[in-house]
């Protein structure tokens, strides 16, 4: 099993380190040719606007979108969640639009609104969550499962083989979310 990690911009090395610790081989996705032979993909935190521009300019956008629509498992964190969302507020046209949720960008404000907390994510209990200029999910469509809410806001969802998180599992040493994603891939 080889997992792709989108490496156009952002905190991709942290995800790679997490997979290394789990003994899973990974490949940094920087160009179209890198997409061959991956069994799942991680979309890391970073700046969604930047990542989306680069997906287009490096001809990754359409192949990746089609692979996800055809069932490629995805773990998307923070900016990655924004890339997947079908609706983005404040008004912005969607990017990959494979996940039927509505996401609010910078929902907690600027950097001074960033925070850490602990919560349950699906069956994973007491998971340390780091929110950095994070979004949250304001609406979900039928078929989307809510995995976690913090203060009444949805911060983790699952839809078919797509997992979207508003926080950063790669910023902690807790590997349970990466393990759960690998089960979806397997």
């Amino acid at each position: 099993m080889k997992i792709g990690i989108l490496a156009v911009q952002g905190a991709f090395i942290e995800h790679q380190a997490a997979l290394d610790q789990l003994g899973i081989s990974s490949i940094a996705i920087r160009q179209k040719k890198d997409l061959n032979s991956i069994s799942g993909i991680i979309l890391p935190g970073g700046e969604s606007t930047t990542q989306s521009k680069l997906l287009h300019s490096l001809d990754l956008f359409h192949p990746l979108q089609s692979m996800i629509n055809h069932g490629l498992p995805v773990l998307a964190t923070c900016a990655g969640l924004i890339l997947l969302a079908q609706n983005i507020t404040p008004d912005k046209s969607p990017h990959l639009a494979t996940l039927p949720v509505k996401v609010k960008r910078n929902a907690y404000g600027r950097q001074l609104g960033s925070f850490e907390t602990v919560g349950n994510v699906g069956e994973i209990k007491n998971y340390p969550m780091t929110f950095i200029r994070a979004p949250y999910i304001t609406d979900i469509s039928d078929g989307v499962e809510t995995l976690s809410t913090i203060d009444g806001k949805i911060v983790a969802v699952k839809y078919q083989k797509q997992i979207g998180l508003a926080f950063h599992p790669e910023m902690t040493n807790d590997l349970r979310i990466h393990e759960a994603f690998l089960k979806v891939v397997a």
């Binding site: 911009q9 952002g10 970073g46 521009k53 900016a79 910078n106 950097q111 960033s114 925070f115 200029r133």
Partner: protein, 280 residues
């Protein structure tokens, strides 16, 4: 929700991690900020005048009008940085230092600070003062990347040296570099700085940016290089792509085609004000 000092510092270091692999561009107006965001900048640095103009104008270079910075924050959704004079409440050697001895105690602030450094000692001293992110100083506003290359190479060489020391030699090294022992111990164990390290100073072309990434920078600041060039939009976008694919020589070659005129640039030997000397 309010965070403790320690927690806020961790979150600020985390914010810097999210900027990795990206390009941070100097802008002076909301319009330029939009062009930068459109081109794929992961953050912008808002300032009254870009370094090349600061250099040309001479005199005391002061901080920007906070209202102008707010205007740029309104215009874009990516993070906005601003510069402050060394000693004033991002300390920047581009501006004239207000305090020629003491830097700011950055741990007393909630916002993240980015500081310039020419070598490992400077970097660790700034981190000890609370910097969440380091960048090489280079020689700003020259369009010549050579100083940034020197600073990055020097820092990396010093990091490699520390990883090779035996544990009992670390105390002496801490003394030599004038930094606390625990920071030297971190570098010894991890082979890197405890915060993100970007390249800055004189980056003007996609090849300059790619070179800095190959030398181990985790991202790149571009100051005068974009809005002092013939086609800022195209150049900005090319530099962003070069940073992502910094090892792909043929892609960088094609990105470098037809970018219009680069900023003119000046040789460090021709300049009078050496900004890298400011704040050590």
């Amino acid at each position: 929700m309010s965070n403790t000092k320690e927690k806020q510092y961790e979150l600020n270091k985390g914010l810097a991690q999210m900027l990795k692999g990206g390009v941070i561009m100097d802008v002076t107006t909301p319009e330029q900020a939009k062009i930068a965001e459109e081109a794929g900048a992961c953050a912008v640095m808002a300032l009254e005048r870009i370094p090349a103009d600061i250099r040309a104008a001479g005199g005391i270079s002061r901080m920007s009008d906070p209202k102008m910075i707010k205007g740029i924050q309104e215009a874009v959704s990516i993070p906005v940085m601003a510069k402050c004079r060394i000693g004033h409440f991002v300390e920047s050697e581009v501006l004239s230092p207000a305090d020629d001895v003491y830097h700011i105690d950055k741990t007393n602030f909630k916002v993240p600070f980015v500081c310039g450094a020419r070598d490992l000692g400077e970097a660790l001293r700034r981190i000890n003062e609370g910097a969440s992110m380091i960048r090489t100083k280079g020689e700003p506003g020259t369009g010549d990347v050579v100083q940034a290359v020197r600073h990055m190479r020097k820092m990396n060489a010093e990091i490699r040296k520390i990883t090779a020391l035996s544990k009992d030699e670390l105390y002496e090294e801490a003394k030599q570099l004038k930094v606390p022992y625990h920071l030297i111990a971190y570098v010894h164990e991890n082979g890197k700085l405890p915060v993100v390290n970007f390249a800055a100073g004189g980056v003007a072309t996609p090849a300059d940016a790619a070179l800095m990434m190959q030398l181990g920078a985790e991202g790149v600041f571009v100051g005068s290089g974009i809005f002092k060039s013939g086609n800022p939009k195209k150049r900005a976008s090319a530099i962003v792509q070069a940073v992502t694919n910094y090892t792909d020589a043929s892609l960088i070659a094609s990105l470098s085609e037809d970018l219009g005129e680069a900023m003119v640039g000046i040789n460090p030997s021709e300049i009078k004000i050496i900004m890298e000397e400011r704040g050590q």
